[in-house]
Symmetry: C2
Subunit: 431 residues, 2 copies
């Protein structure tokens, strides 16, 4: 068949042409693997790929009937989610070569719908902040963001149309923003977490990195057994909450521009904006998030703390030490603030279709020693609301800059509908 | 040393005498193992015990300094919680001989405090409703309850002073009530669940089965790094919500007696009772719980459904089939009812110290084919509030009957204080 650049086609499109017989699963996979071959020495997005395994599987799929809505489409899986046929190494030497007994729930469901798990994408150590090897696909001297570093870079670099990530602070949205993809964190705990190694259970949410909103929506429809979200007419009139947040003064020029420019251009599409000021107590939410993260992670990783300490980064050792010496009273206070704030946020969404806020401080920072600051994303993560970053702008170093849209808890379809509308109206940073 | 019946002493007491040098960890362990030797052919509470491993470990502990507040005390662990040195078999042939890489969080934390994991206790298949081999220690023709069947039976039968269970419907409180132990389900998700194979994540809570309230409190103080809960004076004046629930007409005579008798006797201790009528919508909570359970479990176990179906009981196959064919809309409706009800319940706890309700339909049903009905427990599980069953009464077959106390979310210490007071005032069914 004469289709070119099969690796660059969206997931939705690729699913359609494979099912329709316009190309084979193997051809798509070969295109993705060629791109990886060509680029991964620089990008280092992948922790594990077993070419023979997946090419054989693609051939098996090609020789049978269409088994589901994702027949033959390749998916990347962050290396903290279990896969029964590939190692799950958590970005840590402790798990070198470790193979889980079963697929994570989200992996098993996608496989049953026909997806091919292309491989495991690089994660920061245990989905924390100690970086893996991945570089930003637009300039390898810059961080790709983390902790879903490999998922962000692989999707942005056209190595795979979609990948799972996980977010405890900003680990889906930040790499998506820094690499220039769509990054969607559903409402807390909406994608079943069985087979995920937790960072902090009260925060962890599995998310999806794609190049289009449609693609994230398609995967959610399969995972949750729900219809696709509605496509809004281009002329739909949005009521948008503009929330610069108390972090606004930390925002770089390019982030300020991205937000202000989005407002102007959406106003030109007749959108109505309501300025949102969060309650003053919300300024403490990032601190509360850190407390919950430290306390819970120190329990999740207690076995490693007591038995494998020398194999942990100093970074994570410090976190576990903080968590284990923290009193329950401190932790409970943080949980209570979170709980209270989750109730308070509801009122905002009674007035608006969605909230627009900065995604990150700015474009990806220089260097590979840090994956950037999670505050702009973490503020919303602790609120359990669904958030999505869209790759609409760019910064002084020609790296992408995102904008963040936020919806109300468990109204994800509504958020995705509006996100599709916003991206259509603003266009991608590269166009 | 001349201490007798070391297996019958409470956890709190045993911790004290080992640390104080009045007996050794090995002596306690030997006493527990002798009891198991004598009784487990009938009770069948244990899925795995490695005598050599644990006796060696007890000797190691005895030859060193006291390492923590649980130095040398034996603990049972339900066989759905991972242990690095013993198999975790989930009550399923799929996991025969399976060994996890790391200890579950709750196991690692107790070990670090000096506890000896005596062995793994029998669970229903995947903590569901298909029974394991365990019998009721008071009469082996009756069910011990489930799914934490082995934990309930082992603690009641003086094989171990405490054991972990898990509750998705009534899987901690029901076996505790049927076997005649204290069964405590903390506020949802209070004991870190890393290393637990989920049943349904929005419901699963790790709980503790003990013979005294103090023992549950001690374990929680270690797990959460908090002080022990306050001991209330015997003359404390309680304000108690009496909540017969809409299930009252399903209650057997012995359950009705247990509740009414508790009310009378606590009134004699100057307790004030307020009759609580739950909102009518709460009648649908058990149905909502079933929906959430089916939907989520079908994701958790998707890998097994697609790859090991013939090794699953018909019971669980039916559940997975229901869950996988269920629409997201149905699931979301159940989640929404749960969420709404969790807000509504708060008002009740503004007026009372705790709520008193039936624990189970009645004493353990005859036969081993079913572990009993979870409705009386599940109603509260879905509300995420902490609950505890106390072994205060007995039924026509001389089997124990419990009463259930319920507290407000994350006010567990308060509930435990009052539970201690209630059990002191009412006494145990066997005294």
């Amino acid at each position: 068949m004469a289709l070119k650049n099969l690796n660059k086609i969206s997931l939705t499109e690729v699913a359609k042409i494979i099912s329709g017989g316009e190309c084979s699963a193997e051809e798509v996979l070969v295109a993705c693997l060629s791109r990886i071959e060509e680029r991964d020495e620089t990008v280092k997005a992948w922790a594990h790929i077993d070419k023979e395994l997946i090419l054989n599987y693609a051939q098996t799929l090609d020789s049978g009937p269409v088994i589901g809505p994702l027949h033959g489409v390749p998916i990347g899986v962050k290396d903290v989610l279990n896969t029964a046929d590939m190692p799950t190494q958590m970005g840590s030497p402790i798990y070198r070569g470790y193979k889980a007994k079963t697929d994570a729930a989200c992996v098993a469901i996608l496989r049953a719908a026909g997806a091919i798990i292309l491989g495991k994408t690089v994660t920061c150590e245990f989905a924390g902040s100690f970086p893996g090897a991945t570089t930003n696909p637009h300039n390898s001297n810059y961080t790709p963001g983390g902790s879903s570093s490999g998922s962000g870079a692989a999707v942005a670099d056209f190595m795979v149309p979609a990948a799972f990530g996980t977010q405890t602070g900003g680990s889906v949205l930040r790499p998506a923003a820094f690499c220039g993809t769509v990054g969607y964190k559903p409402s807390y705990n909406m994608i079943n977490r069985a087979g995920l190694m937790f960072a902090a259970e009260n925060l962890d949410t599995i998310g999806i990195l794609t190049r289009t909103v449609d693609d994230a929506d398609l995967l959610m429809s399969v995972l949750l057994k729900r219809p696709l979200s509605k496509t809004l007419p281009r002329k739909a009139i949005a009521t948008i909450g503009l929330c610069r947040t108390h972090l606004w003064e930390m925002a770089s020029d390019e982030t300020i521009f991205a937000v202000n420019d989005s407002v102007e251009r959406l106003k030109a599409k007749n959108a109505r904006f309501i300025e949102i000021t969060l309650p003053p107590s919300f300024q403490h939410l990032n601190d509360a998030r850190n407390i919950i993260n430290d306390f819970e992670r120190s329990r999740v990783m207690a076995d490693h703390w007591y038995n494998d300490r020398e194999l942990l980064s100093e970074n994570i050792q410090g976190q576990l030490e903080r968590g284990l010496s923290m009193s329950y009273k401190t932790y409970k206070k943080a949980l209570n603030l979170a709980q209270k704030s989750r109730h308070e946020i509801k009122g905002i969404f009674d007035q608006v279709d969605f909230v627009l806020a900065p995604s990150t401080h700015g474009e990806a920072p220089f260097g590979l020693d840090s994956t950037g600051d999670p505050k702009f994303q973490g503020l919303w993560t602790i609120l359990h609301v669904p958030t999505i970053t869209l790759p609409t702008h760019s910064g002084p170093n020609n790296l992408p800059v995102g904008i963040q849209l936020i919806g109300y808890n468990h109204r994800d379809e509504h958020l995705l509908s509006w996100a599709r509308w916003v991206l259509e109206n603003l266009g991608s940073w590269q166009n």
